[in-house]
């Protein structure tokens, strides 16, 4: 006979003791319900089975189950499958017939599931790589047994005065068989019948899929403690499923795969029981799930988001079909079969992130467990601090106590069902306890106000004012049938009310995370649960409380008896020594903490969980549901202080000054919209007129000069000819006839008028001397400009009739100064050809006997640069002067007026780098006068000199006007500033 573990001090106490020998915590509720043997239960079940309110499909369930066994057995074969079979054998071994009767149904029901779930071959491997399935099963039970052991002892000692609980209990007990579940429905889920009594019945299948996963994964988490908590998620599964179906929090699934197992496990048999009749009822339970997903009982919301549920379910269905689902298990089994695949792979990766493909809707039903798992099993197993830190904060107590989860403490009170909960929880193999959980969870969708909190929790909110009366809905129903009416307002209550209820509840019994779920629950809508989940991920330590609240009624009354004892009797005895494991440090502080899990750990005091904790109060609740639970605060305080968001007055008090500023701002904004006055046009007009005037004056001057005719201005006398022009002329005079001359036409077409006027006299002289001309240019247009100027020069008198001269246009010297230097080194190599060539005879520009390509620039007797650019002139000087001077070759320049000051220094140097130069139009006039031949320069000179005078007058007048007006404006400005 196993001892009872004191939930408060965690020590063993003989089962017959009512108080803990060490801490005197009440272990048994006085007048506990004798849930002694399975006979009683079976009797109850039997009596219930005759209930008239059993749905027809439930009546037909049993034979179907029997039939299902066949195919299920055939389907067995995979590891997980055989593991389950082994488990069944062990479970059923030595069961009394009556018990075997319904238990066999459970097992039988499980088979089809596994026949489906075997589809993923890796599920077994994932469970525990390299371990035979039988061992796996053995391991499962070994892990659970220690806590299962006390089960039988506890069950007789159920809460006092629970005659009414009988039918509730019976409903729980009946639940294993679907028809009994049906019988139970009117009992404490009466309120939900408004939405169809069968809806919740159809929920167990919802949990079914997870059952597939459970077995394999449960083997991984060989910690009963985990199994206990996993019960709680199962409770809320139905509504979380829906929410997480929308919000695929894939990141957690990998991490929590291992811990889902118990959850999933529990549902397996149940599903198969209801499957046949369930298949048509899919939509119903989905819609009921939806109501949970809609975070409120409001029917519109339920309808609103029901579509989504149907979607992911249909997808699941389709996938399920792919995975060899047996015929009888039509829609849902496939969904199940899809899940083990995911979980198996996840668990095999020890929580590695599953591939994206697994995070889709097909995993939606799993997602909630993902959440639960993170919160519970896994958190407990690998990161004890995670969920133990919370109780520790709530009640600074001895280490052993700290490590004790809340539910253990509360169970330790032995109050009503809770006294037995620890044993109960643990004794119940996850898949069974979860299976039974389906019942309260089935009520959730209708009763849960905020889509997170089960209705019975929501209703706890009201009585919560008095901790002693804090009783979950189902307890209230047990207590007095009148309370059964309570859910109704809860159903109709707005989410706010629901939250409030949850808040109250949270004070005493409801775990913080639950309250947070409520608080964070968005307004009714499909995703309302999302923030809540996010929140809870942060505060995983609280989830054990959740498991406590929800799993308690379920696991305890549902599963404790009979067949569990068989298990404990058969196999679980040896591991009894491991009993401390769930509560002891040994089991709670595993050193090997995966990195990904470490990352999940909420930092101390982090997350909103801290908000809902009050560490200031360390008193322990003396009575009631939470008896023995430390840190319980009066509801009102918490509600006002911690939960309810502060209410601000929406009435805005505006001071007169503020009002004035607002008015000013309004005026400014209004001004912004008014079109601004544009002063620009006036200015533009002035500019336009001024430009027009200037242009008109110049045009008139030029026209007048042209009209008056040339020679109006006397040609400058010889005495006024500048020295540089005289030097230039002297160099030309010294040039021998027919001498090779290099001419650079380095000006832009824009300067052609000036440069042609300036250089025509020089070119004329060169042509008259019959020079051998080679024309180059450092500008693209140079060749054309050379052609143009030489053509005009050749059209002058005395040249047009002369024999064709030796003129070659070599073209363009690219590369600026570098090109000039290269040309200076090897002109024949850089520009070897004549652009003017008509045939091969004159293609080579250096074929003349006067040229020796090797000599480079020394081939020429004169270099003339015609340029409008000071830099180009400088480049020519810099790049060629050394060669030219060393060969006594004169460099002449014809430059524009703008570049004269820049070229003059080269003329002024000693020795002169530039032998002579002519500048601009007047330079051309001087040359023409020296040549005695009028040309373009002389033609332009009159207009040029007249427009120059016009320009000077405009410059003087305009400058004076602007100077005076500028000064006046400046004075005005200064005066204005002085006044200011």
């Amino acid at each position: 006979m196993a001892d009872i573990i004191c939930p408060n001090c965690g020590k063993n106490t003989p089962a017959d003791e009512e108080l803990c020998q060490y801490c005197y915590t009440r272990l048994k509720p006085s007048g506990g319900l004798p849930v002694g043997g399975s006979d009683d239960l079976m009797g109850l079940l039997g009596s219930q089975e005759e209930g008239a309110d059993v749905p027809d499909w439930l009546r037909t369930l049993r034979p179907e189950d029997q039939e299902e066994l066949g195919p299920a057995d055939q389907a067995a074969g995979t590891e997980s499958d055989s593991a389950m079979e082994g488990q069944q054998d062990e479970t059923l071994g030595g069961q009394p017939p009556a018990e075997e009767d319904w238990m066999s149904r459970l097992e039988g029901e499980a088979l089809p599931d596994f026949s489906v779930s075997e589809a993923p071959a890796d599920s077994g491997e994932a469970t525990l790589p390299g371990v035979p399935p039988d061992e796996l099963a053995g391991l499962d039970w070994a892990a659970e047994t220690p806590v299962e052991a006390p089960g039988p002892e506890v069950t007789p000692s159920q809460g006092s005065g629970f005659e009414e609980a009988l039918d509730w209990l019976s409903s729980l007990e009946k639940e294993p068989s679907a028809d009994e579940t049906g019988a139970a429905s009117p009992d404490f889920l009466a309120p939900t019948e408004a939405e169809g009594g069968q809806d919740w019945l159809s929920q167990p299948p919802k949990e079914e899929p997870l059952g597939e996963v459970s077995l394999s994964d449960e083997t991984i988490q060989a910690e009963p403690g985990a199994a206990e908590e996993q019960i709680s998620p199962a409770d809320e599964l139905s509504d979380w499923l829906a929410r997480l179906g929308d919000q695929s929090v894939s990141t957690y699934e990998g991490k929590e795969a291992g811990a889902f197992s118990p959850m999933a496990d529990e549902a397996a048999p149940d599903f198969s029981v209801q499957e046949p009749g369930q298949t048509p009822a899919e939509d119903d339970w989905l819609s009921s799930l939806q109501s949970g997903a809609a975070s409120g009982p409001i029917s519109e919301e339920t309808e609103a988001s029901s579509g989504e549920q149907a979607d992911w379910l249909s997808r699941l269905g389709s996938e399920g079909f792919e995975s060899e689902a047996p015929a009888p298990l039509e829609v849902t089994p496939p969904a199940e079969s899809a899940l083990p695949l995911d979980f198996a792979s996840e668990s095999s990766e020890a929580g590695l992130q599953p591939p994206p493909g697994e995070t889709g809707e097909e995993e939606t039903p799993v997602s909630p467990f993902t959440f639960d798992e993170q919160v519970l099993g896994l958190g407990e197993e690998s990161t004890p601090a995670d969920w133990f830190s919370e109780p520790a904060q709530a009640a600074p107590s001895p280490a052993a106590e700290d490590e004790l989860p809340d539910w253990l403490r509360q169970a330790g009170e032995g109050e009503s069902p809770f006294g037995a909960r620890p044993a109960q929880q643990s004794t119940a193999p996850d898949w069974r306890s979860g299976r039974i959980e389906a019942q309260p969870s089935s009520g959730e969708p209708e009763a849960e106000p905020a889509g997170e909190t089960p209705d019975w929790l929501g209703q706890l909110g009201e009585p919560a004012v008095e901790p002693a009366q804090e009783t979950p809905e189902w307890l209230g129903q047990i207590g007095e049938p009148a309370i059964q009416e309570e859910p109704t307002p809860a159903l109709d209550s707005t989410p706010e009310e629901a939250n409030f209820a949850a808040l109250n509840l949270d004070e005493g019994a409801v775990p913080d995370w639950l309250a947070k779920l409520d608080i964070n629950a968005a307004p009714p809508g499909g995703e309302s649960g999302v923030p809540a989940f996010v929140l809870d991920e942060e505060t995983s330590p609280f989830s054990p409380d959740e498991s406590l609240e929800e799993a308690a009624p379920v696991g305890e009354f549902g599963q404790a008896p009979d067949w569990l004892n068989q298990i404990s009797g058969d196999q679980a005895l040896p591991p009894i020594e491991e009993q401390p494991a769930p509560t002891g440090e040994a089991g709670l502080a595993p050193a090997e903490l995966p990195g990904w899990l470490e990352a999940m750990r909420p930092s101390e005091g982090e997350g909103s969980g801290a908000i809902f904790r009050d560490t200031s109060d360390s008193r322990i609740e003396a009575a009631g549901l939470l008896a023995g639970v430390p840190g319980i605060l009066p509801v009102e305080q918490e509600v006002i202080g911690g939960r309810k968001p502060p209410v601000y007055s929406i009435k805005l008090h505006v001071a007169q000054e503020q009002q004035d500023r607002v008015d000013m701002l309004k005026e400014l904004l209004a001004d912004e919209e008014r079109p601004a006055v544009l002063p620009a046009p006036a200015t533009l007009t002035t500019v336009f007129i001024l430009r027009l005037l200037i242009l008109g004056v110049f045009i008139l001057g030029a026209i007048f000069a042209f009209w008056a005719g040339v020679q109006q201005t006397p040609t400058p006398g010889a005495g006024s000819i500048p020295q540089e022009v005289l030097d230039l002329r002297m160099v030309l005079d010294n040039l021998s006839n027919g001498a090779p001359v290099l001419i650079a036409f380095d000006y832009e077409p824009a300067s052609a008028p000036e440069m042609e006027a300036a250089a025509m006299g020089v070119i004329d002289q060169l042509l008259l001397k019959g020079s051998v001309i080679r024309a180059v240019s450092t500008t693209n247009s140079g060749a054309a400009l050379a052609k143009r100027m030489l053509g005009e020069a050749l059209s002058m008198p005395d040249l047009s009739q002369s024999p064709p001269l030796n003129i070659a246009i070599l073209g363009y010297i690219p590369g600026g100064a570098a090109g000039l230097q290269a040309f200076g080194r090897d002109p024949a190599g850089l520009l070897p050809y004549n652009l003017e060539s008509t045939d091969n005879s004159n293609l080579n520009a250096w074929a003349e006997p006067v040229f020796n390509p090797v000599k480079g620039l020394a081939n020429f007797k004169l270099v003339l640069v015609i340029t409008d650019n000071g830099d180009t002139a400088r480049s020519w000087v810099e790049q060629t002067s050394s060669q030219l001077q060393s060969n006594n070759i004169p460099l002449l320049m014809v430059v524009s007026a703008q570049s004269e000051p820049l070229v003059r220094p080269y003329y002024e140097t000693n020795p002169r780098q530039v032998a002579g130069m002519a500048t601009g139009v007047m330079g051309g006039v001087f040359m023409e006068s020296l040549n005695g031949r009028d040309g373009i320069a002389r033609r332009y000179m009159d207009a040029y000199s007249l427009t120059l005078m016009v320009a000077v007058l405009l410059l003087v007048i305009g400058s004076l006007v602007n100077l005076v007006s500028g000064q006046l404006a400046l004075n005005k400005q200064l005066k204005g500033e002085a006044k200011a």
């Binding site: 620009a680 693209n780 247009s781 590369g815 600026g816 830099d871 703008q898 820049l902």
Partner: protein
């Protein structure tokens, strides 16, 4: 090679080597050099302000790089213009209208595209290179200037930075800038064009100031160092000129 050529060559080599060594030394001392103040050049002060204003107002900066031939002696001023383009692009890259560069020479246009692309990529790597951001508007001086005029009129230009090798045609660009009411900051290496810029641009850069753009816009310690070295050599040259003139005078007296 004559003795005079060798002497001039050695003198030039020594000058260049000394300049380079000092440049390296002052560049190495970059941090300290940054602290020392420089003569105020209003054009650069306005330029810094204009870049920020252009980003805020969602208008463009236009950098006109001129028509310097990269392989010629005027390439230096082209490189100075590229430095300004780089600084302006870095500052205005976050704007939805990044700067636009126009040039009148093929190799310079190519470099301006490279500079723009690399700058914009450094700010937003996924940005596609935009060939029209660094465009060649013409191949002759006046066709280049004429091609810039529509850019100034059509591209929402708020500031024109005209920095490169220009001739008198620069007057067409500054005139266009004034017509659209944008700020025109101009500088070139051609003295005759500097005269035009002085008369037509709002903020002219005269002579050597053009080459100081990098230092004044905080391009790199090397730019600051080069100003220091220029100052050192400036005084060395002044002393050399005065002593040389005196020597020639005394020699004759």
């Amino acid at each position: 090679m004559s003795a005079a050529e060798l002497f001039v060559g050695l003198l030039g080599l020594g000058f260049v080597l000394l300049f380079a060594i000092l440049l390296l030394v002052f560049t190495a001392l970059g941090g300290k050099q940054q602290l020392r103040p420089f003569r105020e050049i209003p054009a650069f002060q306005k330029l810094r302000r204009a870049v920020g204003l252009a980003v805020e107002s969602g208008t463009r900066l236009h950098v006109s790089l001129g028509r310097a031939d990269l392989t010629g002696p005027d390439s230096a001023v082209g490189l100075a213009g590229l430095t300004v383009l780089e600084r302006a692009t870095r500052a205005a890259a976050i704007s939805d209208r990044p700067p636009i560069a126009t040039s009148g020479e093929g190799s310079l246009a190519t470099l301006s595209q490279e500079s723009l692309d690399s700058m914009l990529r450094s700010v937003s790597p996924d940005r596609e290179p935009d060939p029209s951001a660094g465009r060649l508007t013409g191949l002759t001086p006046f066709s280049y200037a004429a091609g810039v005029i529509p850019v100034i009129h059509d591209e929402h230009i708020s500031t024109n930075i005209i920095l490169g090798h220009f001739g008198p045609e620069v007057a067409l660009i500054t005139e266009a800038g004034e017509r659209v009411g944008s700020l025109t900051i101009a500088g070139t290496d051609q003295v005759s064009a500097q005269a035009v810029i002085y008369a037509t641009a709002q903020e002219p850069l005269v002579g050597e100031d053009v080459y100081a753009s990098g230092a004044y816009l905080g391009a790199s310690p090397a730019h600051v160092a080069s100003l220091r070295v220029q100052d050192i050599f400036r005084w060395a040259l002044i002393i050399a000129i005065l002593l040389g003139a005196l020597a020639r005078l005394v020699h004759l007296l």
